[in-house]
């Protein structure tokens, strides 16, 4: 009675507050033996939740069964087939005391069964797609794991496409995602630890690592940081990322994300730890280094000579994406001595009609470019092409024809744009997109001196940066010459004997030395 009174009072509260108060005040509330009381209680809890189904099935005069589940999350077909049909068939013979056991046994054949006496556990079970089975007169409830909700099928990830390499990508379902990883690393050393994060969302989060290969300190850090998260809901891995990263105010991402299981597995084999979150195809990988921001999955599938070449192009391009507009502004306004005479005359003649200072021109064009890019992402595909046509016409042709923008500036901005697309990790490229602007201002105010100061500032910041205890620039700074095989070049696979230093745990050897040549 006391319980019911309490409930009456709470009815006024919102569901969230109710759940809060449950978990805080009465953690040990038990299930009563009165089925009607239980039903009332649960209906109170789930009041106004139209998707929660209460099915009361009378078996005989004395006995009734209560199924509680969330419509759409559970597959109730096996429930009907395995429990209700046989129960109906043998209804008369059944005795109350063995009934629970009978149901449990029937269900066990098709699903994981958990029994609980605790109300909180029961509610959590219902919310996490279990079917709760309560029996008249019993204080134990059964939770059958009959998950059966709609899933997206495995598709090629659109954010990271490859020419050569596996085409499967993660989906929104955590279990599908873990299976994709497990299929690639069939070892008992592949550990998947589960967490539940989010007071309301109760999102399943898993950390995956390979025992001994991943460093214990990193795993411990990941665990601790995940456990300390207090948040109402986790919708995407970004929520987790911002909680676990080391330097939240840095423009550089310290956590890598990917949609590709092959990238995750490659990282796991290097000794990294990945964090999977239910309901999103994006998976986090820690620790991240500067260099992994410039590596693409295909770097490991194509032959190493080509990859080394591509990497150098990429390094060049990403410097261009950061510096080209600034250098153009600095050189034309401060140091025209540095430009070859003929080029200087061409630039001067192209700029003759332009009414704006170079700095302003550069700023305007960069902003326009960012605007085009942003507009292109958000718009529906059918309108997207219209944006690019308008952009190309307005910026590329009309602005130059009208003499508002000089042609060299269009070339500079276009080259910068193309260069920035060559950075394989999207979130890494954004850091450079942002940093381009302060350096541009420095270049406009102080010339190359300003550019150099900006670069020094970025470098100091990068050297200072760490991701889960791993220096961001390792193995270049702190330098470790033996481990440079996957940084400036991509050495042939058979020569990469070791896992990356500072990332990997005890087991540092990937390939035994010298073996590959024997046959």
């Amino acid at each position: 009675m006391k319980l019911l009174l309490n409930l009456r009072k709470r009815k006024k509260f919102k569901l969230s507050e109710m759940l809060d108060s449950f978990s805080n005040e009465e953690p040990d509330k038990l299930i009563s033996s009165d089925l009607s009381a239980n039903e009332r209680f649960l209906r109170d809890i789930f009041h106004q939740c139209s998707d929660v189904v209460f099915r009361v099935v009378p078996i005989n005069d004395k006995t009734r069964l209560l199924f509680v589940y969330i419509d759409g999350l559970c597959d109730t077909k096996p429930l009907d087939e395995m429990v209700l049909c046989p129960v109906r068939a043998s209804e008369k013979k059944c005795e109350v005391f063995i009934f629970e056991e009978f149901v449990a046994n029937q269900l066990r054949a098709v699903a994981q069964i958990k029994s609980t006496k605790n109300v909180n556990e029961l509610i959590n079970g219902i919310l996490t797609a279990n079917v709760a089975v309560l029996v008249e007169g019993e204080t134990t409830a059964l939770l059958a794991d009959l998950k059966g909700f709609e899933k997206r099928s495995i598709e090629e990830p659109s954010s990271e496409t490859v020419i050569r390499g596996p085409r499967d990508g993660f989906t929104e379902t955590l279990r599908v995602n873990t299976s994709l990883i497990r299929r690639r690393i069939r070892s008992s050393r592949l550990k998947i630890e589960s967490f539940t994060i989010g007071k309301l969302s109760k999102t399943d989060v898993a950390i995956i690592y390979i025992e001994n290969i991943a460093s214990d300190s990193v795993i411990e850090k990941v665990r601790k940081r995940l456990e300390s998260i207090e948040i109402d809901g986790v919708i995407e891995t970004g929520f987790i990322e911002e909680f676990v990263e080391d330097f939240p105010f840095s423009p550089f991402p310290q956590v890598q994300n990917t949609e590709r299981p092959d990238i995750v597995c490659g990282s796991l084999l290097e000794g990294k730890v990945s964090i999977l979150v239910d309901n999103t195809p994006f998976v986090l990988i820690v620790p991240m280094t500067f260099w992994s921001g410039l590596q693409a999955a295909e770097d490991y599938y194509e032959r190493f000579i080509y990859v080394t070449f591509i990497r150098w192009i990429r390094y060049t391009l990403f410097n261009i994406s950061l510096l080209l507009p600034s250098i153009y502004v600095a050189v034309t306004t401060f140091h025209p001595q540095l430009i070859p005479t003929n080029l200087l005359i061409s630039i001067a003649s192209a700029r003759e009609d332009v009414p704006f200072p170079v700095l302003f021109e550069a700023f305007m064009m960069e902003l326009m470019f960012e605007a085009l890019r942003e507009a292109g992402i958000r718009l529906p595909k059918s309108i997207g092409s219209a944006v690019s046509i308008v952009g190309a016409l307005v910026i590329g042709e009309a602005a130059v024809q009208a003499g508002i923008i000089s042609a060299p500036m269009v070339i500079v901005v276009a080259a910068t744009g193309i260069a920035s697309f060559a950075i394989p990790r999207y979130n890494f490229g954004t850091a450079y997109r942002i940093l381009r602007f302060p350096i541009l201002i420095l270049a406009g105010l102080f010339g190359l001196y300003g550019v150099i100061l900006g670069m020094i500032a970025i470098l100091i910041h990068l050297v200072h940066l760490q991701s889960f205890g791993v220096p961001y620039l390792s193995p270049i700074a702190p330098q470790n010459p033996k481990y440079l095989k996957d940084v400036l070049v991509r050495a042939p696979r058979w020569s990469m004997h070791r896992r990356p230093i500072r990332v990997a745990g005890q087991d540092k050897t990937r390939i035994p030395k010298g073996r590959w040549r024997k046959n």
């Binding site: 306004t333 025209p336 200087l344 001067a348 192209a350 700029r351 009609d353 170079v358 406009g444």
Partner: protein, 392 residues
């Protein structure tokens, strides 16, 4: 933490405020000067003339009407004074860093150019590696006005002409200053001449060409000119001649032979006897016959020897006449003979260096030329000759 931030902020502000001069200027606010001319008027003031790019008249956006440059002049007591006065005529700031050539009028050169040199090594905006010419028989201003069809800017044309003919020798201000400051050799500067490309004396047909070299004495006054051919002799003696095409008439034959000379070497041996110096100059080189207008069959070694002998003789004669001209007429050692004494007889040099030009002009000189013809080209005798006409 706050303290650290404060220190960082102060350091940051220092970094930006203690940078020295702030020279931000848009390209279109600069008057890009490509060629610079120096003259002197009767009062002794310097006249600077500048060939300035007009960006609106060059490139794709131009209407094709203008020349692409203008020439402006100003007078002053020094280069700085001249630029200061020039600036008053220009809407854009004078920008001297892209000067391609500096041309010095003959009158200024004869009066001496030592008063205008320092600024080129001191003023940061002026490039010390600008090439540097003397205009024979004229004012530098006239040169800058001469149009040149092949290049957008006539100044560039002068520079390219020089680069395509002079081989490895560069004559930038830096080289000139080196030559002026070193002992035992006097500096020389290439010459530009304004000529008429056609016979009619019209302004349109005026163009310019590269001449020989202007000779400066140790006081940096112009004393005379070497013709183009004589300046090649000079290059050979100072060991800077790379390749050169040589042609000579053969004695007793009709027609001439042309060779492509290369691997030119020279050796200057000073010999001092009774306080009198004598120079033995040994010049060597190899050649490939590129042209044979005689009836000689070059497959015969004896015919080759005839050619070699003729070449040696002719080159030797020319060399002696060049050296004598330098010695007797100009009395200026531009051939580095003093340096060879400095190397071989350092003590003697200390005594002699004061009146070296006199000693130099009194010195006896013997020249030995040794051209070695290595190849004769594809055929022995000219192909158009009949068998009977060929001299075996």
């Amino acid at each position: 933490m706050i303290k650290r931030l404060k220190i960082c902020l102060i350091l940051l502000v220092c970094m930006f405020l203690t940078t020295g001069c702030w020279d931000e200027r848009e390209i279109n606010d600069r008057a890009i000067i490509l060629g610079w001319g120096f003259d002197q008027n009767e009062e002794g003031d310097y006249i600077g003339s500048a060939q300035i790019v007009v960006p609106g008249e060059v490139g794709e956006r131009s209407s094709g009407q203008g020349k692409g440059y203008i020439v402006e002049t100003a007078t002053g007591k020094s280069l700085l004074d001249v630029t200061q006065n020039l600036q008053r005529k220009l809407s854009r700031e004078v920008f001297l860093s892209h000067q391609k050539v500096i041309v010095i009028g003959e009158r200024l050169a004869r009066n001496g150019i030592s008063n205008i040199l320092d600024v080129y090594s001191r003023e940061p905006e002026l490039p010390i590696r600008t090439n540097f010419f003397v205009l024979k028989n004229g004012e530098a201003f006239d040169f800058l006005e001469v149009p040149y069809k092949m290049e957008d800017m006539p100044s560039t044309a002068a520079l390219k002409m020089f680069q395509s003919t002079a081989g490895p020798e560069s004559t930038t201000f830096k080289d000139f200053l080196e030559g002026a400051s070193s002992e035992g050799i006097s500096p020389t500067v290439p010459i530009l001449e304004i000529i008429n490309s056609k016979k009619e004396k019209e302004k349109d047909t005026e163009t310019f060409r590269l001449g020989g070299r202007a000779i400066f004495n140790q006081d940096l006054e112009l004393v005379g000119f070497l013709s183009y051919r004589e300046s090649v002799d000079r290059l050979w003696i100072i060991n800077k001649l790379n390749t050169h095409k040589l042609t000579t008439n053969l004695l007793g034959e009709e027609g001439n032979v042309g060779i492509m000379g290369m691997n030119f070497k020279s050796k200057i041996q000073p010999i001092i006897q009774n306080d009198q110096v004598e120079f033995h100059i040994t010049l060597s080189g190899t050649g490939v016959v590129r042209e044979n207008n005689t009836a000689l069959d070059l497959k015969q070694p004896k015919n080759l020897q005839i050619i070699e002998r003729t070449f040696n003789k002719n080159l030797q004669d020319h060399m002696i006449s060049t050296i004598t001209k330098v010695q007797k007429e100009y009395k200026t050692d531009i051939l580095g003979f003093g340096q060879s004494i400095h190397k071989k007889y350092p003590r003697k040099w200390k005594i002699w260096k004061k009146d070296w030009s006199k000693k130099f002009s009194d010195a006896d000189i013997t020249v030995k030329v040794d051209i070695n013809i290595e190849r004769t080209g594809v055929t022995g005798s000219p192909l158009h000759l009949k068998e009977s006409e060929i001299q075996k």
